[in-house]
Every structure is written in C-alpha cells, then in structure tokens.
C-alpha cells in the first residue's frame, strides 16, 4: 500500500493481459456482477490459474449452484453446469465419477454452500472427491437483495432480519477441517495475486480442496464485510504454520475475527476415484484384496 504509484499505460497493460493467454478462459459473456464485486477477482484468478496449470479448456468443467457466485460458469469458456441451489457438490461428484479425466471445479456462495447445501459438503470432503470447491463468501444473499446468510455476523440488520439476526455465524474453515477435507485454504478477493496462487494450488491438489474466498458484496453490505473492514482484519498465516497439523490449522481457524489467509491444511490420501479403482480391481479379481469374502 505504501509503494509509490507508477503510471500504467492502457496499451501496455492490454498487451500484457493478452500476452499470457489467460483470457482464452474467459467467455464472450461479460459478468453480470455489480461493479466492484469481489467475484471479478475470482474470475480473473481462475482464468489465470487454469492457464498457468495448462488445463485445456475442453477438459475443465465448472459446476455451480444458485446465487450471484453461481453465475460464474457463464463467464468462463470451459464446460459449465449451472445447477440447483445447494446441489453443486453432488453434481460435481457425478461429473468426476463418470469422467475422472476432467478437471472439476465447483463454485458457489455462502448461502448455496452452508445453508441449503450444507449437508453435502461433509460427504464430498470425506470421500476426498478430486474436486476444487471454491466458496465465495460475502456474508449475504446478494441475488435476492441482501438477506442474512449463515456466515453473516450476529446482529446483522437486513430486510429479512429487521430486528437484527440472532443467529451465530458458522465457521466454514473449522467445519471443513473437521469434515476431513484434504486441502483447506483461505483467500481474499482484495488480494487478487495471492488468490490466484491459492486457486492454482487448490486445483493442482489431488483430492478434495476447499478454498474459502472472502469477497465483499459492495451493493448490499456497507457495514460488515467491506473492503475497508477486511483490509485491516485479514492477516497472513504465521510463517511457520505447519499445514500438515490439523489441530494447529483449527486453532488458526477459530480466530475468525482476524481471518488468516493461506494454506491451513493439506494431506495426501487416496481419492474417491482411487477407491473406486480398488473396488473394480477387487470385483474383477485383479486385486489381492483384504476382504475375506470372495463370492463368485
């Protein structure tokens, strides 16, 4: 923030942006989000990350639910599936099980994920389905014009909670850590370069990766999760944070008042598809399975 500002010339910037090829990942449909919405950072971040990882357009599938965040697939040039409210992960699981050569990304908002879709998350996590799940958390229902969400602060005044919300917000990172997600990280739309790096790392992870993205709703939330507030509240994870230690990761996650950015937790373990391949080997008698029953 204290760096001296250098002049940026439009022509140079455009050439730079076009040069690296990530724009191929953006579709001809321009995003319908409000100017200033944090989701623009995510769109740019996903395009850059997929380009960096050289994921072919044709081999990427972006699955979403319903909400502002879930409009995401329309703005990307990959295959996309804009499904139903809360059902992002089950559909993404079906895509991955049917064709594990595809790179599957699942996106949705905090309501889509933790209100209506909350029942599906633990199961995608425990199965370790090789899906990158990005939740764009703005702490509000934007597409229905600003009602309280499961991650909204206590005491939030919205059209659906005119006398203040009395519900405590969820702590998504704690939930995902306890669900057994094999990759858990947090990023902030106000730090787009870090966000891009985290997206790339999450996509590259083999297994279920959960990236929580703090992203202000500039239209309906003028008081809580604003850029101004988040800029001062977010912090980096400690330099010596050990991402293989789940308990330490949970300790960091409990400090929700000062959200930490970075990789909380990572482990390598067999994925859903690994398990299914093992089942296929046992069923066809090609594995030295541990099971004692070997019916014809």
């Amino acid at each position: 923030m204290t760096e001296p500002l250098k002049p940026v010339y439009l022509e140079d910037k455009l050439n730079e942006v076009r040069g690296d090829g990530h724009l191929r990942y953006r579709s001809s449909s321009l995003p319908t989000w409000c100017p200033g919405c944090g989701y623009f950072s995510v769109a740019e971040g996903v395009a850059t990350a997929l380009n960096r990882l050289k994921v072919p357009l044709k081999d990427a599938v972006i699955v979403s639910g319903i909400g502002c965040a879930s409009r995401f697939p329309f703005f990307m040039e990959t295959y996309g599936f804009h499904t139903l409210h809360g059902r992002t992960l089950p559909v993404a699981t079906g895509v991955k099980v049917a064709n594990d050569a595809l790179t599957v990304l699942a996106v949705g908002g905090d309501g889509d994920a933790f209100a209506i879709g909350g029942g599906h998350i633990p199961h995608a996590a425990r199965r370790n389905a090789d899906i990158t799940y990005m939740v764009f958390d703005n702490g509000i229902y934007g597409l229905t014009k600003g009602q309280t969400s499961p991650t909204s602060v206590e005491g939030f005044v919205t059209p659906s909670t005119p006398y203040e919300s009395h519900d405590r917000p969820l702590n998504p990172l704690m939930m995902l850590l306890s669900y057994g997600a094999s990759w858990v990280g947090q990023a902030y739309a106000g730090r787009p370069h870090h966000l891009t790096d985290m997206i790339a790392e999450a996509v590259a992870h083999r297994g279920f990766s959960y990236l929580h993205i703090l992203s202000p709703c500039v239209t309906f939330d003028k008081t809580e999760m604003t850029y101004a507030n988040l800029d001062v509240r977010v912090r980096d994870l400690p330099a010596d944070h050990d991402p293989s230690d789940r308990l330490v990761a949970m300790e960091q996650a409990t400090r929700a008042e000062a959200p930490a950015l970075g990789l909380f937790y990572r482990e390598e373990r067999p994925t859903l598809i690994d398990g299914m391949n093992d089942i296929a080997a046992r069923a066809t008698g090609k594995a030295s399975g541990k099971g004692k029953k070997n019916k014809k």
């Binding site: 079906g94 049917a98 064709n99 089942i279």
Partner: protein, 595 residues
C-alpha cells in the same frame, strides 16, 4: 386357465425368523430348475427380527401365468398363530401342512387342527421332533417341511438338494449336510403319507429353450437390464423396496467397468446421476416414492438442461413414509407431473419381470436419444416377485444413441440447444474440442445463454415437449399393447404396472364365461400414447381401469388427457389386487351393458 397343465400355488406362512422366506426361496428355485414356470411373491414385516408375519407364495405352472392366485393349493404353516387366519385361502380339497405336536400347551383354538375346514385336507406332521432328531436343533423345521412337501408330491428330491447346497454354500459345510439330512427326513415321511388324487403334480413342459430359463425378481431384472445397456455409473440411497437394486449393482457393476456410489441422500443421488449424464455417461439411480419426492427438483433441471438420466422408482404404500413393505401404485402423479413448471419427461411402467429387463435397458436408450430424464415406475409387488424368464440370445440394447457434436455443421458459436427437425439438439460432451457450453436450469436461448424473452420461452417449451413425441415410436419397444378379443368388445380394461398380470388373468376368465372383452397395457405413461388408447376405447362398450391406489391416478390421467369417462377400480390395501375383484367388476359392467 391351465385346465390341463399343472397349476399349483404354495403358501408358506410363519413368523419372522422361522425361515419362511428361505423355504419359499428354495421351493421356487427347485421348481424353476425342474422346468416349471414360477411366479412368487413374499410378504414380510417392516421389522427385521421378532414377531412379524412372513408369507411366501409360490405358484408353479406349465402354461404361462400372469399373477398369483387368490386361492392357494397348499398351505404350509411354520407358525399356526399367523397361518390360521389364512386357512380360508386354501381351496377346497387343498392341503394344509402343520406341526402336529406343538411344543407347548396351546390356548383353545390355538392349533391348526381346530381351523382346517372339512373340505380341506389336513396333513399334520411332527416337524419339530424330526428336525431335532436329525439336526439336534429345531432351526431346520422349514427344510423338514420342504422335504415333506417334495415327498408328498413326488418331486425329484435332487432338485431340492442342489438348491440347498447352493443356498448354504457360504456357510460351514455342516450346515449344508444338516439341512440336506433334514430335507431327506421330511421327504421320507412325505413319501409314505396317504395321498388323495387332488394332490398331484403334472410333469414340467420341457421345451427347447428350457435350459436357458432363469428366475429373477423385478429388481433383479432391472439390474440385468442396466448391465446389458452398458450402465456406467449408479448413485443410490437405501430405501425399501428399491434397495436391492443398489446392492446388486454395487456387487455386479464394477465387474463390468461401471462405478457405484452410495450417496448421502436421494437429492445427492439424482444430482450425481445428472452430473454423470451431463458427461455422456449412462447413469441411473433407484428409489421409492419418498425419495422421488426429493428428486423432483433435480428432474426439472434434467428437463430444462436436457440432460439424460434414468430413475427407477419402486412404489410402496404412501403418502409420506406410508407402508414401506407394502405395495401400491400411487406415485404415478408424482412421476408424471412432479416438479416445478412444464417439465414433461418420459415415464415407463413395465408390467412383469421380463418387462422390467426390457424397460430398464430401453430407458437408457431413450434418456440418451431424447436428452431427458426417464422415470421407470415399478412397485414392491413387481420389484420383489419372482418369475421365470428366458433371457434374450443377443443384447437387445443400442450402445450409443447420443446425437453428438458431429451433427452440428454450423459456423460461429456452438448452439447446444439448437432446435432441429426432431427438436433434438446436437450434444457436445465435456472433453470434446469446440463444444464448450454451459448447461443451466435458467431458461436459455439456443446458445445456452440465460434468456427470459417471451418468444424464446415459448419456443423452448415447445422444443422440449415436442422432442419427446419421438419416444412414442422408439424402436423395438412396446409402448402399449392390446390383448384378448379383437374388434368391438363389451368391456375393455386399461391397465398399467404390476396389476396388469391380474387384469390379464381376470380377462381370460371373463372370456371363458363368454364375455367379450379385451385389455390394453399402457407401458409409456408419458408421453401418453393417446391415439392408440383412443382407438382401443372406441372399441369398448365400457372401460375399466383397475389400479392399486385410492384416487385412481391412472384413470384420472386417462380421462383428463382424453376427456373420456372410465370406470375406476381402486384398491389401497397394501396387497396386490385380486383377480376375482377385477373379474367381478368385468361381470358387473358386462351385465349393465346387456341390460
């Protein structure tokens, strides 16, 4: 029917834990192995162990039969307290086999001897003491009785011994040895018993194809159809009476290169099925009414997004949790109409076990070809009943009917939802170059971009409905079929699903009584084959619609869609309809017509 051939129905009745269902299972498999045609259906309580009534009914015939009979020829009691109320179902001169020396003192009227009618033949035997003498345990009572039955009827005991050995192959060798000894002991007693002429069994009809005959349940046939149709992925959540589809596929599908996942709920099961269908896989799930209720929103997405999926629904008593182990045909409305908006999908209802196989496989063809969800309606009576069937020589199902990206030869942006002559759009699959698009549940234009323009919604609604008309002439599939008298008839019967077996038996009986009648089964419930049904109704003086629900859902569908009156015959007792009930109604309608 079956005036010259064999037609015998056995009913084994006992308490949960008596081995009632196991005895029925051995009996029907042995008889099928001997070459008889078999229809069998078990009734059991919702509780796993304890005190519930179990009934296994097995009808064996030499001619084709279509349902169970109201009257059994032989009743085998493993527990008199449950069997006594069923003595009335044994025909005159039919046999009742029971324990002649009960272990404890019974209350007055607690023993079968007090209830066998003078017109019935009592066969008391010392079941328990024989079991204890031979196996040192009373647990083989069910097998002793089977041996007795085989001896009584002079059935080849080797057929039973083979099935017993197969049934207990996963247990210790001693279990097979003991049960075989129990069977032989019972057989010896049965052979020496005095027999009346009524207790007899004709030889099985051995035809050229008898070696290929196999016996399976409706759910088993569905599994076979899925595998032969090349099912790639199956996602399921346990629910009676569809669970066995999940279980069987979990064991079998991985051997054929497919993948099975037990999901966290039915919503997830159908969502994953649609996700898999979106990639071009043949994907299915199976559930019952309560699960289908949860799936309807996703079916709407499948309709809007034009994504193939197959949903097998084995109906049970409803509404809500209803009667999980009782049969009913009351999810027709939900299957045909359930969901938001104008969301027509294909709904198929097979009428017998062979039809389950064929319909299951064809459902995948149709889902893929017409890019739509396909609901296959079964019910507990069809899912769980056994029939002997002859598997086809060659796989009857087409492996790939997707109208692919190659069918699009245009310039510019690929229109995933292009309207065409047959209203089916070229469908690109993830991984295909040049076909990138986004599928959405929002109304969209031909490019798949969200659009709520009035003319667009009208055109897309029309496209989504009209493309399904093709299914009415889908190759090698019977959408409806007429049986019985040709030309004008006094009484016509329209039927669907498992009840059609009873309808056919009733119709044949009515013909024998000189009533001109015919019956039509309707397999495709959506889109409805209106022209064929109208042509049939034009031939009928009056139309009867028997079905197992309270409201008369199929009758309402027919009369609503065609604007014609029908006579409802509805039963919602949880049990299959009785042939005699339908026959009585046919007689009544025929007499009213004549009057």
């Amino acid at each position: 029917m079956n005036k010259n051939g064999t037609d015998i129905q056995f009913a084994v009745i006992g308490s949960a834990g008596d081995g009632t269902i196991a005895a029925g299972d051995i009996l029907k498999r042995a008889m099928a192995g001997l070459g008889y045609k078999v229809i069998a259906f078990d009734i059991y309580p919702a509780e796993i162990r304890g005190f519930g009534k179990c009934i296994s009914r097995v009808r064996i015939t030499t001619e084709q039969a279509y349902s169970l009979k109201r009257h059994s020829d032989v009743l085998i009691s493993l527990d008199d307290s449950y069997a006594i109320p069923h003595v009335g179902e044994v025909r005159d001169y039919g046999a009742v086999i029971y324990e002649s020396s009960p272990i404890a003192r019974l209350p007055e009227g607690g023993h079968m001897t007090a209830h066998v009618k003078p017109s019935q033949l009592p066969y008391g035997m010392q079941v328990r003491s024989i079991s204890e003498r031979v196996t040192a345990s009373a647990r083989s009572r069910n097998i002793v009785v089977l041996g007795y039955l085989a001896g009584l009827y002079g059935i080849d005991p080797q057929a039973f011994r083979e099935i017993i050995a197969d049934k207990f192959r996963t247990k210790a060798q001693a279990v097979t040895v003991q049960n075989t000894a129990a069977f032989d002991a019972g057989y010896e007693v049965g052979q020496s018993v005095f027999k009346l002429d009524d207790v007899q069994l004709g030889p099985p009809v051995r035809k050229g194809d008898s070696g290929k005959v196999t016996m399976m349940t409706g759910n088993g046939a569905v599994v076979r159809g899925c595998i032969d149709a090349g099912l790639d992925t199956f996602f399921g959540y346990p629910i009676t009476p569809a669970t066995t589809i999940l279980e069987r596929l979990a064991a079998e599908l991985p051997k054929h290169g497919g993948r099975v996942l037990q999901t966290e709920d039915e919503i997830s099961a159908i969502a994953a099925t649609i996700g898999a269908g979106y990639t071009g896989a043949r994907a299915a799930t199976a559930t019952s009414g309560p699960g289908l209720a949860l799936m309807t929103e996703m079916l709407g997405l499948g309709v809007m997004g034009e994504v193939p999926s197959v949903v097998f629904v084995s109906q049970r008593g409803g509404p809500s949790t209803g009667m999980p182990t009782k049969t009913e045909q009351s999810d027709l409305n939900l299957a045909v109409f359930g969901g938001a908006g104008d969301a027509q999908r294909i709904v198929l209802a097979p009428t017998n076990v062979e039809g389950c196989y064929r319909t299951a496989g064809k459902a995948f063809e149709m889902a893929e070809k017409y890019q739509t969800p396909v609901v296959v309606l079964l019910d507990l009576y069809l899912s769980n009943r056994y029939e002997t069937v002859i598997p086809p020589d060659a796989n009857p199902f087409a492996p790939n009917l997707n109208k692919g990206l190659d069918a699009w030869r245009g310039d510019g942006e690929y229109p995933r939802f292009a309207d065409t002559d047959d209203h089916i759009s070229p469908r690109a699959l993830p991984g295909e170059e040049g076909g990138m698009h986004t599928v959405t549940g929002l109304e969209h234009n031909q490019l798949g971009k969200p659009s709520d323009a009035p003319e667009n919604h009208l055109a897309m609604n029309a496209k989504r409905h009209r493309k399904l008309d093709g299914a009415l002439s889908h190759p090698d599939f019977t959408i409806c079929k007429r049986f019985g008298d040709e030309g004008p008839v006094d009484v016509g019967i329209l039927g669907w699903g498992s009840t059609f077996g009873e309808i056919l038996e009733a119709m044949f009986a009515a013909q024998d009584e000189g009533i001109r009648c015919s019956a039509m089964k309707v397999v495709m419930l959506s889109p409805l084959p209106k022209e064929r049904i109208v042509a049939f109704m034009d031939d009928c003086g009056t139309v009867l619609v028997p079905e197992l629900n309270y409201e008369g859902q199929f009758a309402n569908l027919i009369s609503g869609a065609l604007g014609r009156p029908v006579t409802k015959l509805t039963r919602s007792t949880g049990a299959p309809m009785q042939v005699e009930e339908i026959l009585a109604e046919i007689r009544r309608l025929a007499q009213a017509k004549a009057a």
